[in-house]
Point group: D2
């Protein structure tokens, strides 16, 4: 396992879904950063399940306890560690199926890799629950970025075949981000809300799940951030984002659509607007040559349908070494996309902050 990541701002993540606790150490934070804990908890609330039938009914208190690196309301400069105790665990359902490899999950690769010693209950270290500490750390990174007038926001760009508008189509500002944060299903275009909710609830009824895409943007970011050759902004963000469970694709700016266009259409032409350098278009999503060019960073992430479904599935029993069928009980998210949004925002904020500290 490799739970450590980063250059100057290093993250060390730990914990299993049904173990005593999960948590994270943030190493390399500057001293003297005031942390607004209410904002941190608000971010963590956004990731929490159990708010409606759109997500799993598992309750998580998700209250982080800071055990180091924080003193009298400020970071100390020493590693900041927070732990979150696990609760409301129903491990029994996992005992029953521990030899049945759930399709789409880490079960089988982990069984091979860890020789059966990994904690299989609730996905163990592979559980989406492990992203809670990332949201905690990201909330701190966001506060540091906000001091520099840099803001990170994201919304549901699509669920199944239904699309929301893009950040490219509207004015992006702090008010929009605030509005999106209030929504359990953060959409720019409210008219699609009912349609999308119905797609999700129908999947739940069918004991199935649906996927979608998340569009994320970073506004206020200056030009010159990123450290190619290998630490291009795209490389660092993609690395972090593909660590988030269920992510299967990422594209920056117009991404895959650019491959169908010509250079004269995709090159973002520069111009001076008074002292500021801007581009007429932002097809490259604010990054050229792996470095920010001063336009908003913009990228879209593909989230596959939740692997945990209640429907009967074909699979193997590794103890009995035979083909079999599997019905996964327990409580699952019919669509993980909305809850993944604060996670994508969090790792983006962490990646950008790390790049700024070393750039």
């Amino acid at each position: 396992m490799s739970g450590i990541m980063g250059n100057k701002l290093k993250l060390s993540i730990f914990g299993e879904s049904h173990g005593p606790a999960i948590g994270i150490t943030i190493d390399g934070l500057p001293p003297g950063v005031a942390i607004d804990m209410d904002k941190v908890l608000a971010e963590m609330d956004r990731r929490k399940p159990g708010k409606s039938l759109l997500s799993t009914t598992r309750k998580e208190s998700d209250t982080p306890e800071i055990i180091s690196g924080f003193f009298n309301g400020y970071t100390t400069g020493a590693p900041l560690t927070a732990i979150i105790r696990n609760s409301d665990q129903r491990s029994k359902v996992y005992e029953d199926i521990k030899n049945l490899m759930r399709p789409g999950h880490a079960d089988y690769p982990a069984f091979v890799k860890y020789g059966g010693f990994h904690d299989y209950r609730g996905g163990g270290h592979f559980s989406g629950r492990i992203t809670a500490p990332l949201v905690f750390a990201g909330a701190i990174a966001k506060q540091i970025l906000a001091e520099k007038k840099i803001f990170v926001g994201a919304h549901v760009k699509s669920i199944s075949h239904i699309d929301d508008k893009s950040f490219q189509d509207v004015e992006v500002n702090q008010a929009l981000f605030d509005e999106l944060k209030k929504q359990e299903l953060p959409l720019i275009d409210g008219e699609k809300r009912t349609e999308i909710e119905e797609v999700i609830l129908q999947a739940r009824k069918d004991m199935d799940s649906v996927g979608g895409t998340i569009e994320c943007t970073v506004v206020g970011i200056p030009a010159g951030i990123g450290d190619p050759f290998f630490n291009s902004v795209e490389s660092v963000l993609a690395h972090l984002i593909f660590s988030v469970p269920a992510v299967k694709g990422i594209e920056f700016g117009k991404g895959f659509e650019m491959t169908k266009l010509r250079g004269s259409e995709t090159n973002d032409a520069y111009y001076y607007e008074r002292d500021e350098v801007k581009t007429h278009t932002n097809n490259n999503g604010g990054i050229t040559g792996g470095i920010t060019n001063g336009m908003p960073i913009l990228f879209t992430v593909a989230i596959k349908p939740t692997s945990s479904i209640a429907k009967k599935q074909q699979t193997i029993n590794v103890a009995e070494h035979k083909n079999t069928e599997l019905v996964v009980k327990g409580r699952h998210d019919p669509c993980i996309v909305p809850r993944a949004i604060p996670v994508i925002e969090a790792v983006t904020a962490l990646g950008i902050l790390d790049l700024m500290l070393i750039s």
Copy 2:
């Protein structure tokens, strides 16, 4: 700049397009690996420009000189360094436009980041030429993987709006890879060749460029490779691949298409075929939970149209601080996709080998 990457197998890349030489150090190679230099040169040949009107007419001899880590035909276990001298440079054209920021290129972000001290000639350290040493290193990684019966192959999946078949549609074996390697424009389905060539040549005529996608696969890879949380296979490969100039997107398995399907459609069901564990489908591209599951790794990369085009473009002059027009002379690739294929294969082989060494 951050030209160093890797866990156990570390790469250190260096060089500028119009400087004395470019090169790479491969640190952490096991000792006693026999390297077939003819195969290395054949790989490098695939990336070379100047073979036809489909690419730039700049000639590169691209002959690597190994200056350490290789003795009597075998790796020594010490860092293996190779350098490639630059030649056929026409720096004059870059002097003329050094204050004009080429759209789509690193020029402007690099100007901000390096305060004007970077080598602007021919893209400097941001030139696609810097990928030649990666192909060299990847050729060695491929030979080590081939000893373990692991093979990496790729082809043009699309150019502009024209699609080739997918690896998912045909039988993938070493013979197919050998066949693809012989082609300047590596396609599974030969019938589209003329159509694609015409799209590229038309772009050249129009002083413009086109993009496309590359599909890459790794066959023979065992289950259990990858090191989550942060070093998931997707994370490591995406990190390396986004370091390659012009890449703007990546998706694993069915990627973005999965977001429109349901979990019951995308979960890859396991079954035993005698002693072997397989999945009926491979929507996840051989990776679940960030770890290989024994099926072929499969992913698609979006390559934007070459930023260097001969057409007149709007841009800024940073010395005179004003808006202006730009015509980039010099020799450019109307489509970089075919030449990017050995690069994508190379970084894939390097990433996989590194993961195998630490897994």
Copy 3:
């Protein structure tokens, strides 16, 4: 702050002396390692203060709670994190002197570096208490090494001007290590015990402190461990050992004494003893060219006298910006050397295990 260290086996340490808890994450542990918790606690007991007048009378319960990476008695392969709650803190004494920079301590450099935001109570992140998690981690590393018949042991080589025998003078075996572990003041030559104890107790009486040296050895280590150029065994061990508070010197084998001898006297001549390669002498402390040669690793560490003394000292008041006098109240170790022994053993075991995992 940089609390993260290691190659394959990575440590992430956190905590402040008077904060809620201290702890460590061990990343990269293989799965399936059975951990004998009694042995872990026994190691931690060796570091604990309050056993006699030879050390501080501060009580530490030092009971680690494992919160991840451990399941059904075995490591899972996921990051293993343990935390130790702080207790018996008397922060008041530190409030009184927070602007008075204790000589020999981190106070003043930390004040400059962290701008006054660090946790000054009891040394904060610089407290010797932070070594408790290292002993926890080292105890696990020792158990893994012991499975390979590799053992780490250490003893007090000198206190002030009084010397114990050297490992070079006696037969080193597991029985000797077991015997040393039982002693609060681990000495090979028991005859010096009273004399040494008197030196320590006299220092206490005089409100002063004494230093000493620790000799550490690793037996059973095979040849071929270490990863030069930069990860020589000496480099890796010295890096870890100089992270331990109060260490001011290290020498391998005969170390500084070798500088007064000739090459013909210090070169360790090889010979075959049946199939085994040995050297007649071990002046190089088991390491040549930065790699183990199969002989026991042997090195000596200089521990300065405890900086915390009760005597009145000259210093500065940074709030009032003036010269002043300081009397440090609180409970201090008149000699930290005996309690540093399990710490030196621990980081040695961790460093060696990491090198074995990447060699």
Copy 4:
């Protein structure tokens, strides 16, 4: 092998003594640094052998060729790579003894580790010659530090049993450093010069070698540099210095001598001298709690007698698997200490610069 080191300023070293070339990549240098190549060559000259009978008569031209990262007299911000071609190699002598393991050298551990595939000629990657690129890189680091009024200097503190004065006994300034740099045998106290030269020449006559110590200091360094827990200044410098061949010990400040004193004698008391914070003594060598305290950094390094001696020695033949005798022909340094001085200075400058970039 692990030839890569550093946090923000990363070094990647490569090359074998009798291969085509040796070299180094410096990654993470800021752009816009003017490099005075005459000063770089002057530093490299100090390390060069063949100047008198005090060192080996092997000639090295040691002229570095910069092949990247340097443009129009300034660093570009891209990785800076320099290579040094090997010449005047007499490989024949090494062929004859390739199965005879030279005592004190890396031969036997390397044979075990690399399975006989390492380049055994002239020590290969373990040759002291590999330190030439470090001196090149260090010369650049020194120029960057000098801009900040930080200077690194070192001298022979002792050869065999004859001591020079200490930096603690004299006034340390740039003039002293300049004077020391001119000397082939850099001594503070010139009166010992003849005596020391005789000791070295007598060792040469006796086909033997002698060792010694080097004292190194960094003046002008501000308080607050260093990144504990693990990247204490002592840890980082010791790591780099133990990578230099023949180093067997290091002590900071009074080091081992401190272990015989009391805390009241070794604590360096602070006082204000106008606005500046100083300490009355500098027993801790400018570092407390792993961080610089504003006083000069001061440490002493133990260099063992050169392992290569012409005298007949006992050893083993690994091909014939038997005990045998060995006479090493070739040209050797009777004392490597003077030539190691610029190397110790170089890695010190590199380590300090890296710490300043991340602190």
